[in-house]
Structures are given as structure tokens and as C-alpha cells.
């Protein structure tokens, strides 16, 4: 049987996610500013998009490596 991994019990995940969460809202830029605009997107929106991208990457990592709860073989045997 593989080792059980439960995302909620892994505090490192939550530190990363909460940090990204906090920076996914543009509170840390001067109100009303939008220059420079790069490829039609205000600078602050690019940063916010970057943070969102980082959240997606982190989630992909967590889902792949930090979640292992069910012993699938057991369920399959149960159903048969």
C-alpha cells in the first residue's frame, strides 16, 4: 500500500497557496495607475495574471504529488 498523503495536512502547501492568494489581488499597486501598458494589458494586470498562472501550476503539482488517499485496488475488489 502506498503512503497516504492528504493535502490539508501539508502546511507547506498552504503557505504557498495563501501567499499566492494574497498577491492575486492588486492591493500593492498605486490606485488608478495603469501605465505602462504591455500588449494591450496594464502592467498590474500582467502581474495579477502571472500570480494566477502560478496558482494553476502549484495546484497541478499538489494534485499530482500531494494527494494520495484511496487504496484503489481495495475498492475495485469491493465492487467485484
Amino acid at each position: 500500500m502506498k503512503k497516504i498523503k492528504e493535502p490539508i495536512k501539508n502546511w507547506k502547501i498552504w503557505i504557498v497557496l495563501i501567499t499566492l492568494y494574497v498577491f492575486s489581488v492588486p492591493w500593492y499597486f498605486p490606485t488608478g495607475s495603469f501605465n505602462p501598458i504591455i500588449f494591450g494589458v496594464p502592467y498590474w494586470a500582467i502581474v495579477i495574471m502571472g500570480v494566477s498562472l502560478a496558482i494553476s501550476i502549484t495546484l497541478t503539482f499538489i494534485l499530482k504529488y500531494c494527494w494520495q488517499m484511496a487504496d484503489e485496488e481495495e475498492y475495485r475488489e469491493d465492487q467485484e
Binding site: L17, Y21, V25, P26, T31, F34, G40, P42, S56
Partner: protein, 494 residues
């Protein structure tokens, strides 16, 4: 103005999509005749749904036609402030991470069908189970009502009024009820897949058309910088608070949707569940992300629209693009079908969950404990149809804008979150504390929603949730669990 969709093509595609959904329902029915004898088979597709279909059925719970028809106008009105729509859809996956891993395992162990099945197993308290079931029932009805209105508005808006609102609503609701009745979760999930693909195709083609015929994001932003620079600027303090509040509300609210929870139960394996959630973490870039760009392009394409006029933005843009050439004409017709299909796909998921709550939580658990699964399913289906008729009567004359009613359903559904999220991990959580927290949270959220109170710009649902959580925690320390109860809970959660 001659409207591109006012001809027969719009009606033809609507009929074609409608009959395609019906065909999927009938084929599913013919292939799976035994499903009407078992709650698990009917409401959860036997709990064997694979990654591809599971992804699209999760997709359908989050993305609806409103993601295009409602969000593009919001981006038009709010500008880059609406960038939050990309983030909040990603964050929903964090919401799932809070409870789905453990809930999935428990659901297979105890054969959960409805969200309240977990409540019953965990708390063994009539009050908690009934209150949670009623909250979900009410929230789901409201949700369904919103989708029904969206079907009518979508069709009549996109055909420039050629197809009347009421006719569209009747046509699609009837089809949805029939295929849901015939094939249960399997029909719903398979049609969700077809509907999701149609929506994705529609969004991509609308974006391409918008860029070609209205100019790209760059020229739209340059134009906006001159005409309404506030749509580009960093939001002020209140804007930031409301942004945070929206993120938290959606993160927890959308993952805890009763129909989303049922999809966790329906997953064929943990691997399928993990993979489909991974896809969900990336989908927002091409769903709400593309729609956001379309809305911003709209600022330049159709400047100066009032709030009411802007609600028709997607229809206006699609009409213009469709009038350019044959390819885009048919592409826009398909987009139109995709938008409607997506609304139907969200509505069918909600209707099925609604029926399951009635079948299992209300009828099977309290009204007729001896009822067979077959009878429970029949009662759920019939009551579902009666509720739909009631909602149709309410939806006959549609309310004004979509965004406001969207916010309302969250406020009540989110009140079951502490029972799920804390209840799954915290063994000392007391059932009485859960009941009081849920009840007070609901009253506070409803009162604030009705009176329009929004202290610090934070949504009423979140205030309710905050008070609910505090009460759950404090009262759990106050009411001591009996030794017997503690042993029972430990056994359930082990």
C-alpha cells in the same frame, strides 16, 4: 438594423442542439436500463465516471452560458477589475482541496448519494440534516430559476427577439427534464460533455472573430485609456476589498455546491478526480479569460452602452461578426447554440441534484423510510417536475440583470461549508453547534442580502459564513461531546 440571427438558421441550430441532447438521453436510457432501481446508478452514474466526462460535468457546474453572456458585459462595464473572474475560477480548485480528498474516500466507504448523507453519517442529528437539506433545496431552486431565465434571455437576445423568451424556456426545459428523467446522471454527464465542447468552441471562435473585425486587445485598451481610463486603473481600497470578498466567496461557495459535491461522489477513481480537477485549474484561462478579452474589445466596438444595453453585448458583437461572411455566420450560429447548451448543462446538473435531495433526504429519510430506491427515484423525478413548473411560472417575466441574482444563491449554499470542511477533520465539532451556526449564519446572510447591508464592502454571504464558523467553533467547546459520540465520530472519520 437587420439581425443576422433573425432568420431560420438560429431556430434550426436551436432545434438541432435540442434534439442532439434528447438523442444522447435516449441512447443512454437504452444502454442502461437498470439504472432506475438504484439511487447510486441513477444519481451518481454508478460512481464510475471517468476523467474526461467527469471534467466536463465539473465544468458544467462552474461554467454556464452566463460565463459568456453575463461576464463579457461585466468586463465591458468594469474593465480590468473583472480580471478577478479568471482568478476566482482557478481558486475553486483550492476550495475542493479543502475537503474533496477525504470526502471522496468516505463517500465510497459509506455509499453517499447526496451531500446530506455525509451530514447524517457525521453528525447523526435530525436538525442538522434537515436544515442543510432545506438550505440546499432553496439554494438549488434559486440557481435553477436563474438558469431558466438565462435560457430565455439568451435565446431571445441572440435571435434579436425572433424566438420569444417563453418559447425558448419551454422548449429547452422540456428537453432537459426528459433526458434527465431517462438517464439520470449518465445522461446529464454525457450531455454536459457535448455542451461543454460546444461552449469552448463558441468562446474561441467569438474571440477570433472579435479580434479580426473589431481590432485586438491592444487597440481596445488604447481606446479605453482615452475614453474611460478608470477601467484600466488599479482599483481603490473598496475595489480591493470587494475583489478579495468575491474571491473568498467563490472559492468556498462554488466548490461546496451540492451538485459539485455529488460529482466528487460520482468519480470513478481518485485518479480521475485528481486529473479532472487539474484540468479545472487551467480551464479559466480559455473560458473566463477569453470572455474577459471579448468584453474589453467590446468597449471599443460598442462604446457608451448603458447597463441594460450592455447586457446585449455578446449578441451585438456576434451579429456584427456573423454579417461578415459565410464562415463566421455559421460559426456564430454554433456559438449561439453553445451558449444555450451550456446554460442547459448547468441547469440539468442542478435539477438532478435537486431531485436527489428530495428522493433521498426528504422522502427516503423522513417521509417513507421503507421506500425502495426505485420509489424514491420516482418521487424525486415527479417532485422535480412540479418544482420546475413552479419555477417556470416565476421565470415567465424575467428580472433585469444576471449578475445580481448570481450573487444571491451563494449566500445560503455557503452556510453548509463549516459542517463539511471542519466536520471532516475536527472530531470535537458538536452537532448542536453546527445547527446553531448554520441557522444563525443563514438568518444573518439573508437579512443582510434583503436589506442590502454590506459592511466594509464584504458580501453578506461571507458575513453569514464568518458568524456561522465562529459559532460552530465556540459552541463546540461549550457543548461537550459524550464519550459514546466521540468514539462513533472517530470511527466514521478514521
Amino acid at each position: 438594423m437587420k439581425l443576422a440571427f433573425s432568420g431560420t438558421s438560429g431556430i434550426v441550430i436551436m432545434l438541432a442542439y435540442g434534439f442532439l441532447m434528447l438523442a444522447i438521453g435516449i441512447i443512454t436510457y437504452l444502454k442502461n436500463k437498470g439504472i432506475h432501481q438504484s439511487n447510486k446508478e441513477f444519481y451518481l452514474g454508478g460512481g464510475k465516471i471517468g476523467v474526461f466526462v467527469l471534467f466536463f460535468t465539473f465544468f458544467a457546474t462552474q461554467y454556464s452560458g452566463n460565463t459568456i453572456v453575463g461576464y463579457a458585459p461585466t468586463a465591458y462595464r468594469m474593465g480590468f477589475f473583472w480580471l478577478q473572474s479568471i482568478t476566482f475560477f482557478i481558486l475553486i480548485v483550492i476550495g475542493y482541496l479543502l475537503f474533496a480528498p477525504r470526502l471522496y474516500v468516505l463517500s465510497k466507504k459509506y455509499n453517499f448519494i447526496t451531500p446530506s448523507d455525509f451530514m447524517e453519517q457525521r453528525f447523526k442529528n435530525k436538525g442538522v440534516t434537515i436544515l442543510a437539506s432545506l438550505l440546499m433545496l432553496y439554494g438549488l431552486c434559486n440557481y435553477l430559476l436563474e438558469q431558466i431565465v438565462a435560457i430565455g434571455q439568451g435565446v431571445s437576445g441572440l435571435t434579436g427577439g425572433t424566438v420569444p423568451y417563453q418559447a425558448a424556456v419551454l422548449f429547452f426545459v422540456t428537453i432537459m427534464v426528459i433526458y434527465g428523467w431517462l438517464g439520470g446522471m449518465r445522461s446529464v454527464a454525457y450531455t454536459d460533455t457535448m455542451q461543454g465542447i460546444a461552449l469552448l468552441f463558441g468562446v474561441i471562435i467569438l474571440l477570433i472573430g472579435s479580434i479580426i473585425y473589431f481590432g485586438g486587445l491592444k487597440s481596445a485598451t488604447e481606446y479605453t485609456a482615452v475614453v474611460s481610463p478608470e477601467k484600466l486603473g488599479v482599483p481603490d481600497f473598496n475595489g480591493v476589498v470587494s475583489w478579495f470578498s468575491m474571491l473568498i466567496l467563490v472559492t468556498i461557495g462554488a466548490a461546496i455546491y451540492p451538485h459539485a459535491i455529488q460529482r466528487i461522489y460520482a468519480a470513478g477513481s481518485e485518479l480521475s478526480l485528481k486529473r479532472s480537477l487539474t484540468w479545472m485549474a487551467w480551464a479559466p484561462f480559455i473560458t473566463s479569460g477569453f470572455v474577459f478579452i471579448i468584453g474589453i474589445i467590446g468597449i471599443q466596438a460598442f462604446p457608451g452602452l448603458t447597463e441594460g444595453e450592455s447586457e446585449q453585448l455578446v449578441g451585438m458583437m456576434a451579429n456584427h461578426i456573423a454579417s461578415q461572411n459565410g464562415f463566421f455566420y455559421w460559426a456564430m450560429i454554433l456559438l449561439f447554440g453553445g451558449i444555450i447548451a451550456a446554460i442547459v448543462s448547468t441547469a440539468d446538473s442542478v435539477l438532478l441534484t435537486l431531485s436527489s435531495v428530495i428522493s433521498k433526504d426528504i422522502y427516503g429519510r423522513y417521509l417513507n423510510k421503507e421506500a425502495s430506491d426505485e420509489k424514491q427515484i420516482l418521487v424525486g423525478k415527479v417532485t422535480g417536475v412540479i418544482l420546475i413548473i413552479g419555477l417556470l411560472i416565476m421565470a415567465w417575466y424575467p428580472p433585469a440583470t444576471l449578475y445580481r441574482i448570481f450573487i444571491l444563491k451563494f449566500e445560503l449554499l455557503i452556510q453548509v461549508a463549516p459542517a463539511f470542511i471542519l466536520g471532516l477533520y475536527w472530531k470535537n465539532m458538536h452537532s448542536k453547534a453546527v445547527f446553531i451556526g448554520m441557522a444563525v449564519g443563514t438568518v444573518v446572510a439573508s437579512y443582510m442580502a434583503f436589506t442590502g447591508l454590506k459592511p466594509f464592502g464584504i458580501a453578506s454571504g461571507l458575513w453569514g459564513l464568518f458568524i456561522n464558523t465562529i459559532l460552530c467553533v465556540l459552541l463546540s467547546f461549550l457543548f461537550k461531546q459524550t464519550q459514546e459520540e466521540r468514539v462513533r465520530v472517530e470511527k466514521v472519520l478514521s
